[in-house]
């Protein structure tokens, strides 16, 4: 079996993404919107998309790990 050092930065990256996914940083009461979505929702969805891409990368890059 091939052993690789655990990628500790993966956990850290997820924590950063989690902080961006929850829109605590957006001003409360803001109802501006684009394409039908409030801007805070678009920011949150962009962070979710980044999480999806990152997650897919981790899965695909660790296919041969054991």
């Amino acid at each position: 079996m091939k052993h690789r050092s655990p990628r500790r930065w993966v956990g850290l990256a997820y924590l950063v993404l989690l902080a961006l996914v929850i829109p605590w940083y957006w001003p409360a009461g803001d109802t501006r919107h684009a394409f039908g979505f409030p801007l805070w929702a678009l920011a949150s969805l962009a962070a979710v998309l980044a999480t999806s891409i990152f997650t897919a990368y981790i899965y695909l890059s660790s296919i041969d790990d054991d």
Binding site: G29, T31, H33, F35, T55
Partner: protein, 497 residues
């Protein structure tokens, strides 16, 4: 679905063909069996490649609640229920914590049920038994919710709008599911999942197109909501709601990643490559499912305002009725979407049914009641167990109709499932985790989660404490006992330096 117009003959023929194809696949799965063993019946000989594994994971993970519950919650909460997109992705992220490693172990050690890992890792009958009970209870809750939604789904379409139609819906669909599930086992269920997953994916896509065609762009719907009494549902969620976001991400992310039927899909993968590719593809599905359900809820908020309470779980049906009345093509597409909803319900329910029967047969009957029983005997017991469980739950679904909203039903099972996080996600990486502290942590976590959830505490508001689910408080105590206890035991064994 009680608000839909009754379907005509053509629609019923289409739905009958769809349901018949499931029975046909059950029969084909029965003929394709290679041996009369538990491994063949419950894991299809561990032969799922990328396409089958991806679609069976998809169809199993996205249940009836993904369609009805999420649209209803978005109607009640507004864009704040985008959290559904987040927690569906969180499930895939939490798989990363243990699924690939568990797959490798399952190949080496021949695991069949999730509890096989617990037995192998801890050598503790108590952890195995409690693990079985937690999973079986959570799955029964889940299966009951799917059966109740099946009844509601069929209720309006017959034109009777009566309890009788609900009862026929529950009994008829449960019977079809039982026939194909017990004939062909997980092989038949995965094959039906390929059809169901395909129909579900197509159904969501068509729903999005129909909403735009019928009501105009989403921006117009959002603008309508902004100038209505529901304007607050467009604004960023409040601080307490954001705490709930975090709670849902953690609770459903970890809890649903530990669904026994999902763990058995991991075991059934043909290769590590097929598993990782399937999970990588699953990371993008929340955008094609949960997000569309939220958008449907926003359209309903704009164009079908004023619904309250349990009626809000029917918002999708209200929208579909408007589309149904609009044109013949709209009517035809609503039939397709209805089939997709049936697919979501049945594909989740059949997997839960098979998982319950495998755990009862292998972990309880084959271990405690009749150790050493032959494989063919255990397989027969498993099939009988499926019939008993589904018949009992169908009776309950009929007796308990109109008792609880869909979201209420899903909340509690995750509170108990997450207590298995140390036993699976921590133990698989940390060899120093001991069985004694893990057992006491599990008991402490379950006690705290259930006490907070059902106890008469004034500080528990809407089932949560300061916006967080009881299961998470239980999990913190659970992890503390398991980890600190293991470290203390290790120190005691080593003795003073």
């Amino acid at each position: 679905m009680t608000d839909l117009l009754p379907f005509g003959l053509g629609a019923w023929i289409f739905i009958s063909c769809y349901l018949s194809s499931l029975l046909l696949l059950g029969w084909l799965g029965f003929n394709a069996r290679k041996e009369n063993t538990l491994q063949d019946f419950y894991l299809a000989g561990r032969g799922f490649g990328f396409v089958v594994l991806f679609l069976t994971l998809y169809a199993t993970q996205y249940s009836g609640n993904s369609v009805f519950g999420v649209a209803g919650a978005a109607y009640r909460v507004g864009f704040g229920w985008l959290i559904a997109v987040h927690y569906m992705l969180a499930i895939i992220v939490f798989y990363l914590a243990y699924a690939p490693k568990l797959y490798t172990l399952s190949r080496l050690r021949g695991y069949l049920t999730p509890v096989d890992y617990l037995k192998d890792r801890f050598d503790s009958p108590a952890i195995a038994l409690i693990g079985s009970i937690v999973m079986i209870v959570a799955l029964n809750n889940y299966l009951l919710a799917q059966l109740m939604t099946m009844g509601r789904a069929l209720q309006g379409l017959t034109g009777l709008h009566s309890d009788l139609a609900y009862n026929y819906g529950v009994v008829g669909l449960a019977f079809i599911m039982l026939v194909y599930g017990t004939l062909g086992g997980v092989r038949a269920i995965a094959w039906t999942d390929v059809i169901q997953g395909g129909v579900l994916m197509l159904g969501f896509f068509v729903l999005l197109l129909l909403l735009r065609e019928q009501f105009g762009p989403l921006s117009a719907a959002t603008q309508t909501v902004i100038i209505s009494v529901d304007a607050s549902k467009i604004a960023r969620p409040s601080g307490s709601m954001l705490r709930e976001w975090l709670s849902y991400i953690l609770l459903i992310g970890m809890g649903a990643a530990l669904y026994p039927q999902a763990i058995q899909r991991i075991y059934a993968a043909k290769s590590r490559r097929a598993l990782n590719q399937s999970l990588a593809a699953m990371a993008f599905l929340p955008f094609g499912t949960a997000l569309i359900a939220v958008i449907a809820g926003i359209y309903a908020l704009a164009y079908v305002p004023g619904l309250e309470g349990a009626e809000t779980d029917q918002v999708l049906a209200r929208l579909l009725r408007v589309i149904q009345e609009g044109s013949a093509i709209g009517y035809a597409f609503v039939v397709l979407i209805f089939s997709a909803i049936l697919a979501a319900l049945m594909s989740t329910a059949d997997s839960a049914m098979l998982s319950i029967s495998s755990m009862f047969t292998k972990d309880i009957y084959g271990t405690l009641l009749r150790p050493g029983a032959r494989e063919s005997n255990l397989t027969a017991i498993g099939k009988r167990c499926s019939w008993v469980v589904v018949c009992t739950l169908a009776t309950l679904a009929i007796a308990l109709k109109d008792q609880a909203s869909l979201i209420t039903l899903i909340d509690r099972k995750f509170d108990i499932l997450v207590q298995l996080v140390p036993s699976f996600m921590i133990s698989i990486h940390w060899s120093r985790l001991r069985s004694g502290p893990t057992l006491w942590g599990l008991i402490a976590g379950l006690s705290i989660a259930l006490s907070l959830a059902f106890g008469p505490f004034h500080f528990v508001v809407a089932g949560k404490v300061w916006g967080f689910h009881p299961g998470l408080y239980g999990l913190i105590a659970n992890i503390a006992v398991a980890v600190l206890g293991s470290m203390m035991l290790e120190r005691r064994v080593k003795g003073p330096a």
